[in-house]
């Protein structure tokens, strides 16, 4: 029963954080100086228009009543209609945008994890000279420190605009190759983080007796590292991916803006510039739920692969 309880406990904790952060956004929009209705309509709005907006957004009610309504909306995932597209619910617009972003982010997680693990295994096994290993490690440190917002435009300029090796992901005809290129950009920092953690964890288990036994029984080095050593370090890898997920979503916003690709990031920026408050709140909640789901998935994967985690030691 213990793993299940752990899983539920983690999910409840993460949900509490999402509620707390959504509440922060709620109160920031209402308590900071400045009238949200004026933010929506601008300075030239007439008193009647302002009153109408306040009524639509329930800003004329006491704060506590608004908050209860907001919490009820959170629980039922119904935060009211999008302010700029009356008749469409805010959550529906968010759900609409979530697909492309999830596509981009999940592909990036896959590529990042694979690249990172490959680099770590390459640096741990007997294939490279000590010098080569040091270079792989240095490259991992360098890439991990490189900010996406700086290197993604430069790589795009070099690879897509100048050399034309890859299509521009914003191009409607780019198709899967464009998506792959965008995900690979997003995956690079994640790959470096995964690579560093996996390399350090593999170094820890490298002298473990079970690896010696596997080698003595005649397993090839690749088999020793992939089949025997890797499962023992899944925990740290999964934790790294889970902690990098927030940064990954932030990176997705930057890339979507850069490539003018539709997704959660473009929706948030659009909702920001038009002050579509229900959509903004909904987007934060959706990002939060995505994050809760990923944390739970990470914990579950760790529990499934590593028996030590199941026994609670």
């Amino acid at each position: 029963m213990k793993p299940l309880r752990l899983l539920i406990g983690r999910a409840v904790e993460a949900l509490l954080v999402v509620v707390a952060l959504a509440s922060l956004v709620f109160f920031a929009l209402r308590l900071l100086p400045g009238d949200p209705a004026r933010l929506v309509l601008g300075d030239e709005a007439s008193a009647a228009d302002l009153a109408r907006v306040r009524a639509t957004l329930h800003l004329d009610e006491p704060l506590l009543v608004q908050y209860v309504r907001f919490l009820r909306g959170l629980a039922t995932l119904d935060l009211g209609d999008s302010f700029r597209r009356p008749g469409t619910s805010a959550m529906a617009r968010v759900g609409d945008a979530l697909g492309p972003t999830a596509e981009l982010a999940s592909l990036a997680v896959g590529i990042g994890a694979l690249l990172g693990i490959a680099a770590a295994v390459a640096a741990s096994g007997p294939w490279l000279s000590p010098r080569g290993r040091t270079w792989v490690e240095r490259a991992l440190v360098g890439v991990a420190a490189a900010p996406l917002v700086a290197f993604a435009p430069v790589l795009t300029w070099g690879l897509a605009a100048r050399a034309r090796l890859v299509p521009l992901p914003g191009d409607p005809d780019a198709g899967f190759a464009g998506l792959l290129f965008a995900s690979a950009l997003l995956a690079l920092p994640l790959a470096a983080h995964v690579g560093r953690i996996a390399r350090a964890s593999l170094a820890e288990v490298s002298r473990a007796p079970f690896l010696t036994v596997a080698s003595a029984k005649g397993a090839a080095p690749l088999r020793v590292w992939l089949v025997h050593a890797l499962p023992a370090v899944v925990g740290p890898i999964v934790t790294t991916v889970a902690t990098q997920l927030g940064a990954l979503l932030g990176g997705a916003v930057v890339l979507e803006r850069m490539f003018e690709r539709w997704g959660l990031g473009t929706l948030i920026l659009e909702a920001y510039s038009t002050r579509d408050l229900p959509v903004l709140e909904g987007a934060v909640v959706a990002a939060g739920l995505l994050f809760v789901g990923a944390q739970a998935l990470g914990t579950a994967a760790h529990l499934a692969i590593d028996p030590r985690a199941r026994s609670g030691s």
């Binding site: 420190a145 900010p147 700086a150 430069v154 795009t156 979503l249 932030g250 930057v254 850069m258 944390q295």
Partner: protein, 263 residues
């Protein structure tokens, strides 16, 4: 500590100092204020008069990048120090209190560090009409405490069983007294290393916010330069390169500077 290790530590501050001095000189040498437009020179290439070239509508990139760097470093230093000042005592107090409070703070750090804080920043910033540097700093400070708290927590777990802490407790010092006099001073060296990585993260986040259009009102931000560079990728690639190198160098210098606090 020997004079040599002290010198080696001070050396870590050098890249940041070089950037600060270069930016100060760059901003001072400029003919006009950062961001002045000169449409006749739009997208002009680097030359002797304009060492970094021009951007959109002929804005001279050198003073723009110099002031943007100074602004970004100031923001990063202030926010990192606030995170340090709030996070360190919180983590130490949590570890001294043990039990439920300790576990709650520990998990809160995990979750806040993993949360998509960039998206949170976008949402909170929409509450103000045009975000200023102060607004941006406050939003970053909302999550900047977490790494400091986590480090302080881990380090205090070791310290709380140290003989001198036990002695202080046995002599009847209050919890706050133990925390302030005995635990926090011993944490500073370890936790201060985080200042560099938090500072670097803030330089990058500020650029990313400005890149997606939420920069400070005056448009003086490294992200703004990158945004211009992307828009004119084919016509004037030097703008993109200048922006990218500036972000990279500034964040790397912050990272290296953090190591000056290392023991």
């Amino acid at each position: 500590m020997s004079a040599r290790t002290q010198r080696a530590r001070a050396l870590h501050l050098l890249p940041l100092l070089v950037i600060l001095v270069a930016s100060g000189v760059g901003a001072a040498l400029a003919a006009g204020p950062a961001g002045r437009l000169d449409p006749a020179r739009a997208w002009c290439e680097p030359s002797a008069a304009r060492p970094l070239g021009c951007g959109e509508a002929g804005v001279d990139l050198m003073p723009l990048v110099a002031s943007a760097e100074l602004g970004a470093i100031a923001l990063a230093v202030v926010v990192a120090l606030v995170g340090f000042a709030v996070g360190t005592p919180l983590g130490a107090a949590a570890a001294l209190a043990r039990g439920r409070f300790e576990r709650a703070v520990d998990r809160a750090c995990d979750l806040v560090q993993a949360f998509p804080s960039f998206i949170l920043a976008l949402a909170v910033l929409s509450a103000v009409r045009a975000p200023s540097r102060v607004h941006i700093g406050v939003v970053f400070a909302l999550t900047a405490w977490a790494p400091f708290t986590r480090l302080a927590l881990a380090q205090t777990r070791v310290l709380r069983d140290a003989p001198f802490v036990e002695a202080a407790v046995a002599l009847g010092r209050s919890r706050v007294g133990v925390l302030v006099r005995h635990v926090v001073p011993n944490l500073l060296g370890v936790v201060a290393v985080q200042l560099g990585s938090t500072g670097a993260a803030i330089v990058v986040s500020e650029a990313a916010l400005a890149f997606v259009g939420l920069g400070p009102r005056d448009g003086v931000s490294l992200g703004g330069v990158l945004d211009q560079g992307v828009a004119a990728m084919l016509r004037a690639p030097h703008v993109l390169v200048v922006g990218a190198v500036a972000v990279f160098v500034t964040s790397a210098a912050m990272l290296v500077a953090g190591r000056a606090a290392e023991r």
